[in-house]
Amino acid sequence: MGFFDLFKGPSAETLAAQQEGEARRADILLALHNGTVPTRVQRRLEGARSGKLPWIATLTPAELIAVRSHGIKPIASVSATCWLHHGWSWTEGHQQGWEMALRRLRDEAVAAGANAVLDVKMRTIRLPVEESMDFTLIGTAVSVADMPPSPEPIVATVPTLEFVKLLEADVVPTGLAVGAAYEWLVDWQGNAARAWMGNIEAKKLSQLWNRVRHRSYFELKKNARSRGNGVLAHIDFSQMFEVEQNERKRYLARHIIVATTVDARPGAPFPHEIKMAVDMHAGATPLTGTNRHHQSYELNDEEGAI
């Protein structure tokens, strides 16, 4: 657009595009309110489900081989976002935010006629919007051969190869669980940190950590119970701050754990023997499954209110 275009009225084409955009935004807002899938997303998912539109998969080609051997068929890319303002608690907002995103992701998977969402990645876009955070989940909805669409598709935060490995071992990854807790400690006596005494345990701070960590693990368990009988915790995020106010020190400890929940049958035999193999992959290999599945907790020193 040139400078002089600014003084011209918008063309008919632009106006039509603007109107379409307005309608689309109104529809998305309505869907968020009603807890449904936006019309346009619904249309895309149904198109992919019926085969009218090409399927979309975040899987690697090596994973497509596993797909072939295990009857897993990619359908569409599904995603969900919850942008949360944490006017009350930053820490607890993580539980709330991921929970909401998870529910929406599952709704999209249902619309796609899926049995599972694989390769679910946790993402956060860092826009400079005060006291808020974006909780986004992106994954690939798949159907499993000879199975009707599930009313409650499972959400697996592991890549497809790991998913297949788990299935073979009679373990089903079922979703995400979050445990979050924080606590403020006011240092009334002014001796919590004991900086002047040489080698000595800062007992109050130890106890603070202990309480906060136990509480977040308790929350994690509570959160996971409805989804499975175990968790594989993959994100462990903790911070402690010292704040000085009116010549009194206060300490904030917060702890967030994010885990993949699994449904495992205890004592199920694993059908494979161990063999030596040469991996032809250059650099990072999908075999070890070390792909980072989130970028939401990259920094361990992020600022924020509680």
């Binding site: 657009m1 935004r25 975040t58 080609p61 949360l84 944490h86």
Partner: protein
Amino acid sequence: MTSEIPLHAKQRLKGLRSGVHSSGVFTSDFSVNEFLLVRKAGFEPIGLCVGSCVYHVGIQYASWNKNQELDVLSKAMYHSRELALSRMRAEATAMGADGIVGVKLSIKRLEWDEHLLEFIAIGTGVVHGEGHKGFRAHDGGPFTSDLSGQDFWSLLHAGYRPVEMVMGSCVYHVAHRGVLASLGNIGRNVELENFTSAMYEAREIAIDRMQAEAGAAKAEGVVGVDIHEGSHVWKPHVIEFFAIGTAVLPLEQEIAPEKIADPIMVLSVND
């Protein structure tokens, strides 16, 4: 190791054979594993193909408090990538390649002008060893794919062939929040639906466009999709959602399905 070194290689090791090749030299940016696997898949590299494009990205103003796609910028990001890719493809066509594997698409900012972006597409042109033309794209030109040599081999052994690198872009302005709106939420955790819906709209547009490209390439699906966000030269509230992947079609007779080996599951004991 008891494996025999082939005669051809032995002669070269002994210095019996000269290094000068009458048939010319191929260029590639393959790693050793990549090179071996591309050849194992039945292809020979013939040369690096490059396409570049320096693009002046226009200016577009958005209302401060409004969510909207910045279509001028979306088009710029699209057009410039398209130019770089089509130039790379033209080079491949000129050298008679059946396809390009390992395409890397990168964007660089030029230092002296914030509106100038440089787009570079680079990949290795390959031909089928037995002159099979069935691997070409729907328009008879070379296929393009951002898959590495290893992934290329894996894809063929999964029963698919690459057709075209497809992408979708949406540059989006996310509204700012008014001061009054922020005040209302003190002491509560609430969803900012306006922001949530911005993410939904922008992502949906990008995925939609990529899917439309795959449809136009007559593909069955898109593999290795990456959906990410980036801000290149813009103001803090402007982001680009970008979806990219390789559109694929099932192999018909290129590799018979019965020849495809079953995968062996591996539990790595390495960390």
